[in-house]
């Protein structure tokens, strides 16, 4: 058996490296050795085996869903984002599985209802979907923004009363690095108007200015183009248009939302816990 006296300086350095007490230069030197000599690699591996069980004391913390989305993006993987369970316990808004389900499986109406339920209301009324009637004059418009392959990229819900649009990613295709999706409003027969840069891995909430709000309607469409990270430099789409959707909505949608909200409210709140 080895005794402490056998413990050479080198072996101690490997232990110190694994423990994490070496400064940057000394660390780099050991890391280099591990790459180049088998002895160093074996000694470090042994110390890892000895010390790593300590990490069992560290409580697990579920990372936010967008971390996986970023990894997928970085590596250009095609596995769906929803392979990974969403973060529990953070409420409806951060429940990616639910957003995903809404984006893929449910109608835009269901997304609208979720906006009604999930966003803080200006009125201080308690947000219980079963009992709270949505403000009678509320108007909503919705759009399912489809990619060329027919898969929904995003769903947009426009809340006219609050001048707000929420764009929820469903299954947007990966983009080249350094590129980002930009959302455009295209009035009938008009030029595209930039709405905002939108996220691929989380809902984007956009405040709509009155001139934009006035142009929303069944004759207008939404489109997403691929642009530099900061947005199109020209004010018009410069990259490929990857997804499009028509806008539908107003009163029938709203009535439907209220009906669905009443029936689904309980379901969604159960899902969120």
């Amino acid at each position: 058996m080895n005794t402490p006296a056998d413990e050479g300086n080198d072996n101690l350095r490997y232990a110190e490296y694994v423990l994490g007490v070496l400064d940057a230069d000394a660390r780099a030197a050991v890391a280099q050795e591990v790459q180049t000599t088998d002895e160093a690699a074996a000694a470090v591996a042994l110390w890892q085996r000895r010390l790593m069980p300590l990490t069992e004391q560290i409580a697990s913390v579920v990372p936010a869903p967008y971390v996986w989305a970023r990894i997928r993006d970085d590596l250009q993987l095609d596995v769906p984002a929803a392979t990974v369970r969403a973060q529990p316990g953070k409420g409806l808004w951060n429940n990616l599985a639910l957003w995903h389900w809404l984006g893929l499986g449910a109608s835009a109406v269901a997304v609208a209802l979720l906006v009604v339920i999930a966003l803080p209301h200006r009125e201080a009324a308690p947000v219980t979907a079963e009992t709270t009637p949505v403000k009678a004059s509320a108007g909503y418009m919705v759009s399912t923004i489809q990619q060329d392959n027919g898969v929904t990229g995003w769903t947009a819900t426009m809340d006219l009363d609050r001048s707000r649009m929420v764009v929820v990613p469903a299954a947007p295709a990966p983009l080249a690095s350094g590129r980002a999706p930009e959302l455009w409003l295209i009035p009938a027969g008009g030029k595209p108007i930039s709405v905002a840069m939108i996220k691929r891995d989380a809902p984007t909430t956009i405040t709509l200015d009155p001139s934009l709000l006035a142009k929303l309607g069944p004759t207008a469409a939404l489109a997403v183009s691929v642009e530099p990270i900061g947005g199109s430099p020209t004010g018009q789409p410069t990259g490929a248009v990857i997804a499009k959707g028509s806008i539908s909505g107003s009163t029938e949608v709203h009535d439907h939302v209220v009906r669905v909200a009443t029936t689904l409210g309980a379901t969604t709140s159960r899902k969120s816990v």
Partner: protein
């Protein structure tokens, strides 16, 4: 989720090997099963959520690229993964070290509290043995080893935090490491 049961370890080994063969589904499953453990480790060391997220992201992109080099005969997948995330977290800490050293008040804030025991308290045999060996150390030295491991602090930082000379901290840690080694080999 426990990553300590033998069956789960085997499964993680398999998933990491599959990941090394460019199996995206296996990689996604591996992420699902291990990311919260690794994120806990990163958070513990970096104490900043967005930094921990960045390091977690770097860790898994490296996993995808290096998984082919994983050898289950040398280390278990979970050890391999945790080591990778710790190394990245420590590298990140070293980058910040100078700014921390410039502002001693920040250093004070990073003094670690006692580690919280894992919630599900289901720990491995190896953990039990290591814990017994740690318990055999002098309390001050044991605390220094734990703090070093959980916070990734350098000798200098540890000495400052414990208000002891650098030489004292070095000899505490080195003596502890040697004692641990002997104890674990018994």
């Amino acid at each position: 989720m426990s990553v300590t049961s033998p069956a789960e370890r085997e499964e993680l080994n398999r998933l990491l090997i599959q990941t090394g063969r460019n199996d995206q589904k296996a990689f996604a499953e591996l992420y699902k099963r291990t990311s919260s453990k690794l994120f806990g480790v990163c958070l513990r060391m970096l104490r900043d959520r967005s930094e921990a997220e960045e390091v977690l992201q770097e860790t898994y992109t490296t996993v995808w690229r290096r998984a082919a080099g994983f050898d289950a005969a040398k280390a278990s997948a979970i050890t391999w993964l945790i080591t990778l995330s710790r190394n990245k977290a420590i590298d990140r800490l070293r980058q910040h070290r100078e700014e921390l050293m410039d502002d001693p008040s920040k250093l004070e804030q990073t003094v670690d509290d006692q580690p919280t025991p894992a919630v599900d308290a289901e720990t491995s045999q190896e953990y039990g043995r290591l814990q017994k060996c740690l318990d055999a150390l002098e309390p001050q030295q044991r605390d220094s080893v734990r703090e070093a491991f959980f916070t990734g602090a350098t000798y200098n930082e540890l000495a400052t935090r414990s208000k002891v000379p650098l030489g004292t901290m070095k000899s505490w840690i080195r003596r502890s490491l040697m004692q641990l080694r002997v104890c674990l080999e018994q």
